[in-house]
Subunit: 272 residues, 3 copies
Amino acid sequence: MATETVDIATLLGVLRERHPLVHNITNYVVMNSTANTLLALGASPIMAHAIEEVEELVDITGALVLNIGTLSKPWIDAMFHAGKHALIKRIPVVLDPVGAGATRFRTQTARELIQHVRPAILRGNASEILALGPEGAGGARGVDAQHGVALARQTAVTLARTFNMTVSVTGPEDYVTDGRREARIRNGHPLMARVTGTGCAVTAVTGAFAAVEPDAFRAAVASLVMYGMAGEWAAQRAQYPGSYAVALLDGLSALMPDDVRKGAKVEFSAAE
Amino acid sequence: MATETVDIATLLGVLRERHPLVHNITNYVVMNSTANTLLALGASPIMAHAIEEVEELVDITGALVLNIGTLSKPWIDAMFHAGKHALIKRIPVVLDPVGAGATRFRTQTARELIQHVRPAILRGNASEILALGPEGAGGARGVDAQHGVALARQTAVTLARTFNMTVSVTGPEDYVTDGRREARIRNGHPLMARVTGTGCAVTAVTGAFAAVEPDAFRAAVASLVMYGMAGEWAAQRAQYPGSYAVALLDGLSALMPDDVRKGAKVEFSAAE
Amino acid sequence: MATETVDIATLLGVLRERHPLVHNITNYVVMNSTANTLLALGASPIMAHAIEEVEELVDITGALVLNIGTLSKPWIDAMFHAGKHALIKRIPVVLDPVGAGATRFRTQTARELIQHVRPAILRGNASEILALGPEGAGGARGVDAQHGVALARQTAVTLARTFNMTVSVTGPEDYVTDGRREARIRNGHPLMARVTGTGCAVTAVTGAFAAVEPDAFRAAVASLVMYGMAGEWAAQRAQYPGSYAVALLDGLSALMPDDVRKGAKVEFSAAE
């Protein structure tokens, strides 16, 4: 495992060359900021949720991002519809279980999406991941992380092995595992938690990398490094949340492959 | 009444220590900016509207904000559902009757919400408040204020007494009454009217203060001072609407309890 | 035709004096940025989509903007409802067929809206316009323009003549025709394509100008010049997408009638 490595710089270069389409069925709060995140990074966003068209859009997309942030029945239908089609067409799906643990509705929907859509990557904070584990009755307080990333790791490994997926747990220190390999990422900045939708944004970024990197584990790691470094870049230019949100988008565009090669703070190991 | 006073500085300190959850059922236009407003201020936003989960969320929230800006039937159902549950659980509700007076649908919905949900605080512009008064056939032109705040004051007092709530009327000069006390607030800046959702944002800020201050009148006054001062802070840093919107968020975060203590422009009196 | 000219400076002055109401039934992604675009320009936005109220709102609006970006059944119903009412009341309708060509659902909806609502102006990119032409099976890749503006011109002229409307085709060079006159506009900047919703924004701006200028062709040309110049203004102040989006809004507010008179890059001719 000591030889595991992710060539983030090359991946970023490929992403910016291919401008992969990323289809998002996501929440109302972050639709605009997510689309701008993908554009700033170099990808091409599609946001669409109508049952009538999601399959056709999945057919042309490089990745499908499902985000349950402002859930309601018709949107859940669209997510299953699009997700099952993506599974058949082997399009990677990234699931963001926003607020899992906060209500039974969210926990249940996230569990069913994992079961039936089989996402390549599950990206949540520690509370959300804990709520989705076998033991998981852990009540999330809104969408904030209450439990340390450390506590969520065992759950992440279990989920990864049970569903043969990559689990990406974000927090002060990020953690990624596919049940076999694991990575700890220490890029990022505390101000990111003061801007709405940064979690959802890194999920969309994960979709963009998954569209160009078939190894889901590597795509997830690259995304966390990239977004975390944009957060660091922004912190050097802004100190308050409004201008920080603007600088975060700028950073996604300003960072060059060489920058991420030099600035990545990743540590790999084998999952126990 | 000369002794009435609101210790805004202390309230702001408490708010930033407790990070109260504020549950918003609000319009599509301002979901992102409202969430960012609450985060910048120091509160924690939840945006959710599904019938299936609003009660569970009300159970964990410090305040519920209802905003009828982009109304439709399922959202009205969710507002009544969440609102009635909040009433039972004694969670303060803040209602923003966006565009009341502009269409019968909005006026009617706002009236029914007041009647059945019994909000602690109603926050609108002069046109909207006038449209909700007993005489109120006053047609609002969109969501702009056509009538001076002065004209809306009598209606505010009547509404406050009839429904035992606080009414918060914003405009060039803001006015708050609970039917017994009244306050005039002269913080703010004309550029606030050039950014969409500033009215909705101050309603959400009112929810955040209501979560930490049980006296609804005081919570409403503190909110108008705080948001108005953020508007003043922003006007010193930006002169056009795009960068002004960014600076407004920055100001909510940058202002310290001591700043609001010094900058508050409030005048209290007894309602006639 | 050599004498055709649009007095954009005067139109902008009139717009800023009248603050025309523009009613938008638009997509979730751009609701906030569209409202801010209209406010920065000097117009007054209304966003509302409920069947119960769209007719009442059309009655007080200066223009109706329909945008199919995040389509679903209830929104289509609202668009037809509002659009047919606008047709009867002679309120100009501007249609943005976002993603036409990408799915049958979008292409079909856009075609039916053109047929039954008879928009004064159709504003799309080259792919979208091509997809709506008589021959149009041209598959759009998401909402990006794949085909050059040149290729879409013949389709634009055909559509303009068939439906007696103005067609506004945006891209590196913009093109407007009413089937008789045509204009080429070379204002704008490549960074505009890195911000989500700039196409939707220029459609809303077109609505604002259509509210004050009865000649749809002239309103469309003025809008493209104005928005393109805001893009140029922004490019002098920001180099990355996040801050560029902010500067774009600033530019809409900062540009004065004299600036657009001097900076307009328009060339008129007769359509063949």
